[in-house]
């Protein structure tokens, strides 16, 4: 137990360093991009004098390392800084964008886990037979379709042609929960590929687990089939799926830009796109911190769950 705790501590420390490295890299790269917030702000009238004035007003005339240091000191006090273009606190930006993103991610995961586990177990149970072949070929096929293609297809069929669902979330603001119909299409698109990859992993793990001697032993000793499948075999099959699930949640929280853009959902992906377009460096950096922390915590969580499901593997770090 003690070893586990020190392992968690080491992983967290490593995570902090990784997040810091990501932030530095993001800062360096945005600095290296041509143009800055002042140029973007000046827009159609690139008058050099005006740009210089804006630059001075934004504090962009100061050396890069000074701006970075200020921002880091602020961050240590819990202050994410202020947006260059709007003057609003970055924390507010992030909070606004986080709501819709979290909502989408939560809905997707709530549907994703039971559906993919169920499909995987069902396929493994009928390994090599019709049910398995149907599930396996369908998951492989759907997995091959990129999100934007599937998104466009669903919009044109379900929203534009049949008119069953609103095509985008335009006009609903950040309170998407009040308009569940607008969420159906984005969640469907977000679900499509993760369901396939998870179901295939669960299927592979379940086939191994169901063929193991301890499964035959439990069956011989009169344990009912469903209990063997879900109580005894499934825990063995879930270890690889857990890692994949962590990666999926990470992706849902940090980068579903395509889906947000397609359905006009004001989530973190949209915030990121706008901030990069405006060269709004504090906002980009704030997002980098949030994404970094989320990735570190999710992977740590997945490793802990894997350790529980495959206790022999030990804690790897």
């Amino acid at each position: 137990m003690n070893a586990l705790r020190s392992w968690i501590a080491r992983r967290l420390l490593l995570g902090v360093l990784q997040t810091a490295a990501v932030v530095l890299l993001v800062f360096g790269l945005t600095e290296a991009l041509p143009g800055d917030a002042a140029v973007a702000f000046a827009g159609d009238q690139p008058d050099p004098q005006r740009i210089a004035a804006v630059r001075e007003a934004m504090g962009l005339d100061r050396p890069a390392h000074e701006r970075l240091t200020d921002w880091v000191v602020g961050l240590l006090h819990g202050d994410f800084g202020t947006s260059l273009t709007s003057g609003r606190p970055v924390a507010g930006f992030l909070a606004d964008g986080f709501g819709p993103t979290l909502l989408l991610a939560t809905l997707t995961v709530l549907i994703l886990v039971p559906v993919s586990v169920g499909l995987g177990v069902l396929a493994a149970r009928h390994e090599g037979r019709l049910t398995d072949r149907l599930i396996s070929s369908a998951t492989l096929g759907v997995y091959a379709v990129p999100e934007f293609a599937l998104g466009v297809l669903l919009v044109s069929v379900l929203a534009l042609r049949l008119g069953w669902l609103p095509p985008t979330a335009v006009g609903y603001g950040t309170d998407l929960l009040a308009h569940p119909a607008a969420l159906v299409l984005p969640v469907l698109v977000l679900l499509a590929r993760p369901v396939c990859s998870l179901a295939r992993l669960v299927r592979a793990g379940m086939i191994d687990a169901l063929a193991a001697p301890w499964t035959a032993h439990a069956r011989r000793y009169g344990i009912p089939g469903a209990r063997i499948r879900y109580g005894h075999a499934l825990p063995n099959a879930l270890a690889p799926a857990t890692q994949q699930l962590a990666r999926t949640i990470d992706w849902l929280l940090c980068g579903v830009i395509v889906v947000e853009a397609l359905y006009v959902i004001p989530g973190l992906g949209t915030v990121l796109m706008n901030a990069v377009a405006d060269r709004d460096i504090p906002v980009v950096q704030g997002l980098a911190v949030v994404f970094g922390v989320a990735t570190v915590l999710l992977n740590l969580g997945a490793d802990l769950v894997t350790h529980r499901l495959a206790p022999r593997s030990g804690a790897a770090a």
Binding site: W214, A218, P224, G231, A239, P311
Partner: protein
């Protein structure tokens, strides 16, 4: 009669694993199937459980009358779910059994049933064990846990597959007593074993198998004391007592261990597991290291061969100190101390022919030309009874005994001064074991034969050695000639070990 097998034949790819086997099982008796590995014991035992190899063609009949069959396999870990705690299956089974009770009483009743099964299986400290994972239990605990599952099942028959293979004398005695207790409860035991001492101690009825057929069967006293079949006689022949080495040959001190303390890493801490003040091996001599599992025998052997480098103290060969790690030893030093591993199958690359792997030693350590090395490997292998096409095959097609000979040949090609043999007869049937040990004796009687460190838990294997060192809890508790150790042990631990081995027969039976 509680179960019967009649004319059972199990064929896989046209090859009969079991050929027209019939046997009857009566409550409260122990029926033993004995025979070499591959003789069809396990296939017969599994048939009683209703399990057959994949793709097998089965004829004949297996009938079990109104009871269930429990299983204690050779490797109990194989039937324990690695992702669930040890108590998971027991709890599920108990829950099945109490379904008819009112809901409020189920939990207590189930817990009571589990507790009783654990107590019956003599699993001490069971409450704590049940919340551990299978890999955190010792082999003995795993075995008793699997037995508890069979008892909870209410099995009228328990199939015990090689329950004592690889166990030291004290553990073996405990297992024998436990199985006797199981039979004493009126449960029929089908014992699959090649450990004849265990069979002698337990069995009422013995069936001798060879190549899938029953060559002899009858009451234990008749089969074991007055065998009719020549194969049974060979199986029952006394273990070798003739010394491995010519005792006159032992010469000067060859290998010396002084002030050695070896450590293992356990969860970040380095724990001392072995300390040896002084131990010597003279040239031409066979020194047996005996003790229970975990006593430090293998660690000592690994230190000698440079496989375990986390130790202090000196190991000298012919007066020169050997570096601790393999990596720091010169070619000559590497060749001088060779190691033969317990698991011969794991010690060979499964994708390359055995001959090439054996010959490689001569190329690597003696600088021989590849062609010359192969010729030499062939000569040594033929010497050890592995001739012709057999050695051109991959390891998967050789039996355990054959592979162990090949491993010995591989060590010999280095022309070593010392060979460390780590449990090389473990898991082999009596006939194969005797022939391997005879081979070792033949090797040691030659001119310039290497000295041998024989690591074993089996006192019969240790008896023909010149000297025996007894290890317990990481220390050499007693050392002397094998006659002295086995006939007049002084240390209490040695007394217990020798006693457990010698009194197996008398210790049990109701």
């Amino acid at each position: 009669m509680i179960a019967a097998v009649t004319g059972l034949t199990v064929e896989v790819d046209g090859r009969a694993l079991v050929d027209r086997v019939s046997l009857r099982i009566r409550p409260g008796t122990v029926t033993a199937l004995v025979g070499a590995s591959g003789s069809g014991k396990t296939t017969t035992g599994l048939a009683l459980l209703g399990a057959f190899p994949a793709g097998a063609r089965v004829t004949g009949e297996v009938t079990v009358h109104g009871t269930r069959v429990g299983h204690v396999p050779q490797h109990p870990a194989a039937v324990l779910n690695p992702a669930r705690r040890a108590g998971a299956l027991l709890r599920d089974m108990a829950r099945q059994q109490v379904r008819d009770l009112p809901r409020s009483r189920r939990r207590a009743a189930a817990r009571q049933r589990v507790a009783r099964a654990l107590a019956d299986a003599q699993l001490d400290d069971a409450g704590k064990l049940l919340s551990r994972y299978p890999h955190q239990l010792s082999g003995g605990q795993q075995q008793r846990l699997v037995l508890a599952q069979a008892l909870l099942l209410g099995a009228g028959i328990i199939v015990a597959d090689e329950p004592t293979t690889g166990q030291d004398a004290l553990t073996t005695r405990r297992i024998v007593e436990q199985l006797a207790a199981v039979a004493g409860r009126g449960i029929a035991v089908l014992l699959l074993s090649h450990d004849l001492d265990v069979v002698r101690a337990l069995a009422d009825e013995v069936l001798v198998m060879r190549g899938g057929r029953v060559v002899e069967q009858g009451p234990a006293y008749r089969v074991l004391d007055a065998p009719a079949d020549p194969w049974t006689k060979e199986l029952l022949a006394e273990p070798r007592t003739l010394p491995y080495a010519d005792s006159g040959q032992a010469g000067t001190e060859l290998l010396t261990v002084e002030g050695l303390t070896a450590r293992h890493r356990t969860g970040g801490a380095r724990v001392p597991v072995l300390s040896v003040d002084r131990l010597t091996l003279r040239s031409g001599e066979c020194l047996a290291l005996v003790g229970r599992s975990g006593s430090g025998k293998t660690t000592l052997g690994r230190c000698l061969a440079g496989l375990h480098r986390d130790h202090t103290g000196r190991i000298t060969l012919d007066g020169t100190e050997l570096p601790r790690s393999l990596r720091d030893r010169s070619r000559a030093q590497l060749a001088a101390v060779q190691y033969v591993f317990q698991d011969a199958r794991a010690a060979f690359d499964e994708h390359r022919p055995v001959l090439d792997q054996v010959a490689r030693t001569a190329v690597r350590l003696r600088g021989a030309e590849p062609r010359e090395a192969v010729a030499r490997a062939r000569r040594v292998l033929t010497d050890l009874g592995l001739a012709g096409e057999l050695v051109r095959r991959r390891p998967g097609l050789l039996s355990g005994g054959e592979l162990q000979r090949a491993a010995l040949a591989r060590a010999l090609l280095a022309e070593p001064r010392v060979i460390v043999c780590d449990e090389i007869t473990c898991g082999l049937d009596p006939v194969t074991r005797r022939s391997l040990l005879n081979l070792l004796g033949a090797l040691m009687s030659r001119q310039d034969a290497p000295a041998v460190v024989l690591i074993t838990h089996d006192l019969d294997t240790a008896a023909p050695a010149d000297r025996v060192a007894v290890l317990d809890g990481g220390a050499v508790v007693e050392e002397g000639t094998s006659e002295q150790i086995l006939n007049a042990p002084r240390h209490p631990f040695t007394v217990a070990l020798v006693g457990a081995s010698g009194r197996r027969g008398a210790a049990v039976r109701r």
